[in-house]
């Protein structure tokens, strides 16, 4: 097969698709401290992210979710970058970063509350330093930039204390690079030297539009015009993704400003469960990328260095099974919130307009209900 390194020669790569470790003088030191446990942890998180994808897709097919957006194929980009984060770092995800959230400790059932249409995610962004998903493409890159400007003002950049220095990471895709907000974020981050990593997962497809509809140049080249250093990395190589993100985060935390990372990867599945990729791309293309599967690559590497014992594989399979059981039961247990909650938290302080609607609705419900108060939680 053709290695991506031959068609995209500027990609940072530490593992070939067949799991061979290749030397890279610049990035080798970034992964030198990773022992077998750390490497297996990355593998484990990639496998569990895929388990989550598979379970969620099934739940959507069974009618338990309204929609689902799988991260299939992007596990290395997400797990590698997320493993490079420090606890105090702050994450602004798009809507497909299930692997990142898993690593940060967000309960993935909360993610499914969004796709079951009973909530907007539900996790407390401050608990794991992970903002809620943003569904409008690119909008959150500006929020990440502003947040990073706040970190600067808090004096948490360049102190030299690794437990205090803080970076922000914004995840977005190839489609988002065409959005004005993403370009404005690059401007604001650049001129303010904000401690921010723009982590671009170029998965080649914005629903049905290939990257050629977004750009005439490699997406990482966009950084140059903004004065933002950029790097292209093999997005299906978890070690390389870890290494380039670690370097970019260190630059941000030390006061070196933003970096644009283009993780060159592939959306192996559909955009969402409502999509049909067979209408716009070939099975040959999908097959060629399947041979670059990021999980296969890491497994081959671990096997090659003799660090994938059967007990670990078995335990991981059991962990995946348990995750599936928990997700299936958890999703089915999620019920629609009480209708009256739609009036909650529109404002932080009482607003007469909302309160008038709340009163009207309560009186209407009471009048329509044969037994006063019994309408709570009912479907009409």
């Amino acid at each position: 097969m053709t290695d991506i390194a031959s068609t995209e020669p500027d990609l940072v790569q530490l593992l070939t698709p067949t799991g061979d470790r290749v030397a890279d003088p610049r990035y080798d030191p970034r992964v030198a401290h990773l022992d077998a446990d750390a490497l297996r942890a990355m593998y484990r998180d990639m496998v569990l992210t895929r388990t989550f994808d598979t379970e969620a897709t099934s739940l959507q097919r069974q009618g338990e979710l309204a929609l689902f957006a799988p991260a299939l194929g992007q596990e290395a980009a997400q797990i590698g970058s997320a493993h490079a984060l420090a606890p105090q770092d702050y994450v602004f995800p798009s809507y497909r970063e299930h692997g990142v959230l898993h690593v940060r400790g967000v309960d993935l059932l909360d993610v499914l509350s969004l796709f079951r249409a009973v909530d907007y995610g539900g996790w407390d962004p401050r608990e794991h330093n992970v903002q809620l998903y943003t569904l409008v493409i690119g909008s959150h890159t500006l929020h990440a930039t502003g947040y990073a400007m706040g970190v600067q003002r808090d004096g948490l950049v360049g102190t030299g204390d690794p437990t205090r220095d803080t970076a922000v990471i914004a995840y977005f895709g190839d489609g988002a690079t065409s959005q004005g907000d993403t370009n404005e974020a690059l401007v604001f981050a650049s001129v303010n030297e904000a401690p921010l990593v723009f982590f671009l997962q170029n998965n080649q497809w914005a629903i049905s539009e290939p990257t050629t509809r977004q750009s005439k140049v490699p997406l990482a080249d966009r950084g140059k015009g903004f004065g933002v250093p950029s790097v292209r990395v093999d997005g299906n190589d978890v070690l390389a993704c870890y290494a380039v993100t670690a370097e970019a985060l260190e630059r941000a935390r030390s006061g070196g400003g933003p970096t644009l990372v283009e993780a060159f990867t592939y959306r192996m599945g559909a955009h969402t469960t409502s999509d049909d990729p067979s209408r716009y791309r070939t099975s040959e293309e999908e097959d060629s990328w399947r041979r670059r599967d990021p999980i296969d690559r890491m497994r081959a590497y671990l096997e090659r260095i003799g660090e994938l014992p059967q007990e670990f594989v078995d335990a991981l399979a059991a962990e995946g099974d348990a995750m599936g059981v928990r997700l299936r039961a958890g999703v089915k247990a999620m019920v629609a919130p009480s209708p009256s909650t739609m009036f909650d938290a529109v404002y932080a302080t009482p607003h007469a307009g909302v309160e008038a609607d709340r009163r009207w609705f309560a009186e209407y419900e009471a009048a329509m209900s044969p037994v006063a108060g019994s309408s709570e939680g009912s479907t009409r």
């Binding site: 907007y120 407390d124 500006l142 929020h143 930039t145 706040g150 970190v151 004005g180 007469a352 307009g353």
Partner: protein, 358 residues
């Protein structure tokens, strides 16, 4: 075990959620100031009282803003707190959201009304909904100042009144001061408010003067609060409902009507979201007639909302339909025609005549 454990919440070295009442202008007593200067002093008081307050916008630093509303503030508080931003409105509001998420209280200046639309998505889709989407876990204390309205002979896109587009959006508060005293207190109340506030400044009235009590402390409320309308001139025959730039028009009309023996009551709405129906309804129950006046186009405007609410609340007290006076369903015209477009004293009095004759 690879899952990172994040303990506690992120550090917020200076993130008071309740403002400490104090002001640079304390002890200054009551002074006669322009509306622009009153906002300037209100912004200064907020910057002084709360270290998380930041001003952001185009040309607000060394220049002091194109209307000089932020004059001298960058010199006093530094370029990190009075920030000249890149020329990108969506970027201003989008980064303000991020700063608010980190515990800051950004006050954005949109240079002119007609320039707010690049930021419309960030305001209506992101800013307005963030508190709701997080089920109240995160608050977004962002103020967006927008000089609005016409009558200043400007070129296109510099005289518009887009306030209703924001009042229609749940999650935003929309207010507009009509006089210097309100401008001074309302800007501080808006900044202290935990909700996003769209603060519409009647640019045609920037140089109108009025008495301002400068001893009002930051974070405290006067005049019944940011949400409340106020009767600014009592009367018996017709209630005129106005806000922002048209309050002065209404007061002049009331003066002229008084010379003809007609007594007009003028209500300054002050807030469009929420809309203080009670104060308007209480007035209309006494007068039986109501005319709403604003510069924004009449169709689908604030007048329509007021008319609907008053019809519902005061149906049996009404002696005439609620009438509306305002902009036409045209783009804002060239400035040589704007005085035909804008609601004038004469057009307002014509509506009063029709209401009385009905």
């Amino acid at each position: 075990m690879s899952t990172l454990t994040v303990t506690g919440t992120q550090s917020r070295p200076h993130a008071p959620t309740t403002a400490t009442p104090q002001t640079t202008t304390a002890g200054a007593g009551t002074q006669r100031l322009t509306l622009a200067k009153a906002i300037n002093l209100g912004l200064g008081a907020a910057l002084e009282a709360d270290p998380t307050v930041l001003l952001m916008g185009e040309d607000i630093g060394a220049l002091g803003g194109v209307f000089r509303v932020t004059d001298g503030l960058q010199k006093e508080f530094g370029a990190d707190r009075v920030v000249d931003t890149p020329l990108a409105e969506s970027g201003i509001v989008g980064t303000a959201i991020g700063l608010a998420l980190r515990g800051y209280r950004p006050v954005c200046e949109i240079q002119f009304d007609g320039f707010v639309f690049p930021a419309f998505d960030q305001i209506t889709t992101q800013l307005a909904k963030m508190h709701y989407r997080t089920r109240g876990k995160l608050t977004l204390p962002v103020v967006i100042r927008i000089p609005y309205g016409g009558g200043i002979g400007a070129v296109e896109h510099h005289s518009e009144s887009p306030e209703v587009l924001f009042a229609h959006t749940a999650g935003l508060r929309v207010v507009s001061p009509a006089n210097p005293a309100d401008a001074f207190t309302m800007i501080q109340e808006a900044i202290a408010c935990p909700d996003p506030v769209l603060f519409f400044e009647p640019k045609g009235r920037y140089w109108d003067k009025g008495d301002v009590d400068l001893d009002v402390a930051y974070g405290t409320s006067t005049g019944g609060g940011l949400d409340r309308a106020r009767v600014v001139r009592p009367g018996r025959d017709v209630t005129i409902v106005a806000y922002g730039p048209t309050v002065a028009t209404a007061l002049r009309a009331a003066e002229a009507a008084a010379a003809e023996g007609r007594s007009l009551e003028v209500v300054d709405l002050r807030s469009l979201s929420p809309l203080d129906t009670d104060t308007v309804a209480e007035s209309v129950r006494r007068t039986g007639r109501c005319v709403v006046v604003h510069e924004a186009p009449v169709q689908y405007g604030t007048g329509a909302e007021v008319a609907a609410r008053i019809t519902e609340a005061c149906f049996y007290h009404l002696q005439a339909p609620v009438l509306r006076v305002g902009g036409f369903q045209t783009p804002y015209p060239v400035a040589r025609l704007e005085h035909e477009y804008l609601p004038s004293v004469d057009r307002l009095l014509d509506a009063v005549d029709r209401a009385i004759a009905f």
